[in-house]
Each structure stands twice: as C-alpha cells, then as structure tokens.
Symmetry: C2
Subunit: 412 residues, 2 copies
C-alpha cells in the first residue's frame, strides 16, 4: 500500500479516534469460544462420582503432590521420565514459579551455601520476555541481566559467557516453546547448551516455563528437545525446573498447574509445600483427568483451540503485511504457536505507538513490559495478544495500530 503523508495519517488517526473505540489487546487471555471447548468438564464430576481411578475420595485432605492420574498426564506434558518427577499444584503455574523463587530467597536450594536472600543474586532475562517473570525477580530484589532473544532462543554465546564467569548469576528464565512474546522455539542446540553449559553458581536454576508446549497454531509444529533428559546425560539435572499448566487449555482461572524436575528438586519443593498446604484441589484434578484422559486427549483438544485462534493471528499478520509490509518501518513475528505476536517498530517509537493507540481506544500492553524493569532500551517492542477480542475487534484494532505505527514513525 502506498505511503500516506503525515497529514493523511493524522486524518485517518483522528477518524479512528472519533469512533470512541474500546478495544483491548493487552493480555494473553483465552476468548469465550476457547473456554467453551472445555465446558463439558463441568459436568464430569458430580455428587455421584467424585473418586479417583483408584477410588480415593477427592473431597478430603491429602495428596500433597497430586492424584496419580493427574501426575500421569503431567509426566507426559512436562516430558519428565516418571510421575515421581511431578508435583501438581493449584490453578496457577505462576504461583509455582513465584513460590520457587520465594523459597530460594528464604532457604536456598539444596546446593546453596546460604539463602538467596542473603547474597547478591542475578538472573538472566532473555528479552523480549514475559513481564510476570521479570516482576518476580524485581519483587525479590534479584538483579536482572537482559540477554538478547534470537530466532533460536536466548543468545547462548552471551548466556554461556555470563553464567561461566559470574557465580552470582543463579538462574535464567526461559519460555522454551512458542515463547512469550516472540513465538520462537529454542533449537535443539540451544536446549543442549542450556542443559550442559558450565555455570559458576553451583545452585543455578533454569526456570523453564513451558507454558505453550501444546499451543500450536499451525500445521507446522515446532519440536522442542527434552531438556531434563539432556541435563541428566550431563549430570546437571538439578538445574532444570519445568513449569506448565492447563490455564490456556481448559479454564484460565480454574486450570491445574504442575512442576517437573529431578528428585532432589521435587523433594525440596515438597518440603516447602508441606509447610503451606495439606494438598491441592483434587476435585478439579479429576475434572481434568476425566475430560482429557491423556496427553493425546490434550493434543486433540488443542487442535480445536488452534482452529479458533489461528485465524485471529492470521488476520493480524495479514493487516500488518498489507499496511506496513512495504514500508520498512516495522517487523513482526508469525509464530507457529503460543499466544502472542511480537511487533518491532522504529527505535524510540514503541511508547509513542502505545500512547497513540490508547488515545484512539486500542489498549496495548505497555511498551517496555517485555523487558526487565519495564525498560526496552531501544523502545521498539510491542506485544500483541490477539486471542481474546473478536475477529472484528482484532481487525479494527490492528488497523488502528498500523496507523499509529506509521504516524509515530513519520513524527520521528
């Protein structure tokens, strides 16, 4: 499409603004149609039928690490080698991740000489990344070191150098598959390097948030190497903590989350868990195990999700392509899975684009949110979350966004 003059852009922008829009592309929330896919789950546990396969009463206390059939599904989900390497939590993997860091701060890991709270601790934060990971670090006073994301995952040359040199670097956040927000999947080589790299810190941990492991959008599905297996081969299995949940599979607010790890970490986590709970909600676990049955059931279910949301992603990409494709002012990802499209605008323009869009009634994730301390050094990255709005809203919002990008670029 031919470039508009700044004046024409401004006019177009004002026209959108005059419409009094109220569109929201901020958070990775599933849409109603997606939630509807799991509705039958609500009818699978009734007053007549609330026991586990083995006949345990899910209503009472107990079962600190989950019921057997839920652990079985998570064994495959998290790609660990046995159910002994699984702890089933409550409804949120974010809670499991937060609590892991919190326990490390107050108590350290088994190999820690002292609690993380009593020493300088840094974390590597491949960016753009997930804002809530970064918030946890900031909350606990863990210094964040930004590492570039590449199309194959975190820039491993940078990562290897840093972790080998600096023993205060105790961990790294990784969303290994269909990453938030760039949508890339770590290459086999990246995963192997993460598993085998030499770390100066003995108690180094990879916070491996495999949030989108089955969240394919395309027939072209990314493959992710098995980090725990690779780590076991290298004798580094203690560093791997894998997290996942059903939040974007069943119900965002009432899913089931889990952690997968080698025994030493499972024992460590169970020790902490036993201080804070007598057990998770097992009734919600049988809702899930009855509905999904096994990982094949989960995968089949995710195809239905893809059918709903892939067109939304396509619509965004198509409009960006049409409006911005030939202008050389922006690049964006076209992921095979996950929940986000990552848009890079001209340097120094992301905040302005988000501001312009907000004024025109299109809410975008705050610029900078995808970087540690909410600070995108180039002020160029914007995260687009296309799942929640309707198709009509998405198209309109993306058109507004495209005008804002052009306008900000023209002003620059």
């Amino acid at each position: 499409m031919a470039s508009l003059t700044k004046k024409e852009l401004q006019k177009k922008y004002e026209e959108y603004k005059a419409q009094g829009l109220a569109l929201d592309m901020t958070r990775g929330k599933p849409g109603v149609e997606q939630l509807d896919l799991s509705l039958p789950m609500l009818d699978l546990v009734t007053s007549k039928d609330y026991k586990t396969v083995a006949g345990a009463d899910t209503r009472n206390y107990g079962g600190l690490d989950g019921i057997p059939e839920m652990k079985e599904i998570f064994k495959d989900f998290l790609e660990v080698s046995s159910t002994d390497e699984v702890i089933v939590g409550g409804n949120s993997s974010l809670t499991l991740m937060h609590d892991t860091i919190s326990h490390a701060v107050t108590h350290g890991f088994p190999e820690s000489k002292k609690p993380w709270g009593e020493q300088k601790v840094k974390f590597l934060c491949p960016s753009p990344g997930y804002d809530r990971h970064f918030s946890i670090c900031e909350h606990f006073g863990i210094e964040m070191v930004t590492v570039p994301m590449t199309s194959k995952g975190p820039d491993m040359d940078v990562v290897e150098k840093l972790v080998a040199e600096d023993k205060s670097i105790k961990g790294i956040w990784v969303v290994p598959k269909y990453s938030n927000p760039t949508g890339i999947t770590c290459s086999k080589k990246t995963v192997k390097r993460l598993a085998t790299m030499k770390t100066a810190a003995k108690d180094f941990r990879i916070m491996y948030d495999n949030a989108y492991t089955v969240h394919h959008l395309s027939k072209e599905q990314d493959e992710l190497a098995n980090i725990l297996e690779l780590a076991k081969e290298a004798g580094t299995e203690n560093r791997v903590l894998i997290f996942g949940s059903f939040s974007k599979i069943s119900f965002a607010g009432a899913g089931v989350a889990a952690m997968g790890a080698a025994k030493v970490n499972i024992d460590w986590m169970k020790g902490h868990l036993s201080m804070s709970t007598i057990g998770p909600d097992k009734l919600n676990q049988i809702r899930h195990t009855r509905f999904f049955k096994d990982m094949k059931g989960v995968e089949k279910h995710m195809k239905k999700h893809a059918k709903i949301i892939a067109p939304k992603f396509e619509a965004v990409i198509e409009i960006l392509e049409k409006e911005l494709g030939d202008k050389g002012i922006a690049t964006w990802t076209n992921p095979n899975g996950g929940y986000f499209i990552s848009l890079d605008v001209p340097k120094g323009c992301a905040k302005e684009v988000v501001r312009l869009a907000a004024e025109a009634g299109v809410k975008l994730t705050a610029a900078g949110a995808t970087f540690p301390y909410k600070n995108d050094p180039k002020d160029e990255n914007i995260r687009i979350a296309p799942t929640l709005p309707s198709m009509g809203e998405i198209k309109l919002a993306t058109r507004v966004l495209a005008v804002c990008v052009q306008l900000a670029a023209a002003k620059k």
Copy 2:
C-alpha cells in the same frame, strides 16, 4: 470404675494389642458423612451455568481477591466491616498464613523498618496449640516463645508483659474460638487485651486463625468478641489478620479460604498476590456461594455437621469419664465446638501413652506436637481428633487409650 492393678492393666493392654487394630485419631479430618453434606454443591455449577451473580465469566483469568458474592459471605464469616476487608484465596487458609509470614520475612509489613528475615524475630505461641502454625515459625527461623493457654485464651498477663518489653516479638498465633486443641474460646476480655495491648514492635501482627468460628458441637455456643472492631477503636487495626476457610465446612481439599484485615494489610497482601497469581479458582467460589448463599446458610449447614460429630466427641468424653474419671491421673477438655479434645496425662507420660497406643494399633498425634519445637516441657498433653473414625472405631480407640494412660501412670 475401680482401679486395676498394673498386672491387670498389662493383661488388658496385651489383649487389645493381640487384636491387631489399625485405628487413627491423629488429624482433624472430616469424616465421609460430613463430606457428604456438601455433595449437592458439585451439581450446582454446570456447563450451562458458570457465571457470577453479576454475570462475570468465572472460567477466565482475573478477580485477584475473589468474586463479590464470595467476599460477601466471607465479610460475615470473618466479621469484618466491608468486602474491602476481604481477600479470597485458594483452597487453604494455611497457605494464606504461610504466605503472610513468608512475605513478612522477605519484605516486612508496611510499618517494618526492614524485612523480618533481616532481623531477630520472635513469635508468641500459646500452647498447647496448632502444630502447623509452629512449623511455619520454625521453617522461617522465627523463635517461638511458649505462652500458657488458659480457659480464657492465651495467658494475657504473660503476653502483655512480653510484647511490651521485647520489640523482637513480632506476633502471636491465636485460634480464638474452639481452639486447637483445647477447645476454649477467648473471653471478651482476652480479645480486648489482644487488640489494645501495647507492643514494642511497631509491626506486630496477631495471626488470628478463626478456623472453627461456626464449628459448634453443642447447643451452648461460645461467643467471640470482634477483634477488628476493638482494634479499630484502639487504633491498632493494623495488627489484626484474620483467617478462615470452608475446609471443614464443605470439602477439606476443595474449600475456599480467605483473609480479613484492615485496608493497609489488604493492600499489602494484594501487592504480594499480584506477583504470584492472576486470580483464584472462581468456579469453586460460585459452587460455594450457590450452595451456602449466605452466612445463615453456613450456620444451618454446620448444625448438620454437629449432629454427626457431636456424638463422637460425647463418646470419647463418656469413655474417658468412665475409665479415668475417678482416678485422678488425667484431665481432658469437653469443648463446645471445634475439632479436638485435649487430654492431659501425668507429667512425663504423654510420649509413653502415645507409644503404647501405637503399639496397640491406635495412632495418636505425636506427643509434643501441640508445643513449639514439638517439645511439651511437661510431656503431658495429647491431642485427640475424633471426627474421622467411625463411632465404633472411636469407642474402641478411646478404650485402648484409657488403658494406655493408666498403664503409663502405673509404670511411673
């Protein structure tokens, strides 16, 4: 009943032992009949009907502090003055309590000069008390100071003196109503003294675990004064943190928990919560609000619980009375509510009684568990939990226990 000789007691004990019993009176778990009372709840949320009263979709993310109608019930449950003073959590009040202490350790409360983890912190532990409270303190390196329990609550002469003198004393655990394990309810005077006492620590907190607020066993219901109101009158409302849950009302593993407190603490807790979760399971909240409707519904429901478990308590009391009543070797509580009977045996005998009972196939809570560091200085207190076993099991277990008490006393 006439005293048996040591030889006769030993014979009776060996007879029980020969039966190969396997009875468990350890933990305060509801029995199946109690869980059955809430079964209809499982049919109240279906694939056709999953919205809040206001029409919000409970399946999606959001609602950090709970849905309005759940907060409304907890407002009355926790006896706070508005729903703004309520945070609804997940399935466990223990988690809320643990997390509160954990946040204080890593960050401190708003009035704290520095995090509790960076200073010497002590907690007052009225004992006998709840072992899981004490475990949390021990876990976080908080020094526990044992305070005697009286029939009116913690010995306030001791409490007032300690908290006024020692600014490292940052808190106190209180189960104010039908306490675990002694079953007493704090008198109005005790509650008022807790609310108004002068504390050297500016960031002093009362961990007010009102676990048994509606758990009456008798027509004679204890009344508990409103601590938050009294504290507000005294300008000390920041010190009050009230916890409660439906664990022993609906389903022990799938209830709903909440915290009640003045705004400064609610804001503080929400700040921490927002780091670790996007929101609790709202589907389980509407299960509860639809089933119970309001506090009157809860109270009506609890009468059904009492009908089931009061006879179990009576059976224990009756057997203890019959077997030990005239022997001057033991005393026990006869509570108007709660989940426990507290048994005091001759000094230095509690461990031996528990050991003897275990050998005869009757599992009791470990002696000492009701004291900080699992150390009952007089080795005299045993907690009896009569709710889970059947009536036949309870009677048999109590008879075995009575023989063990006599035998241990005779050996002494």
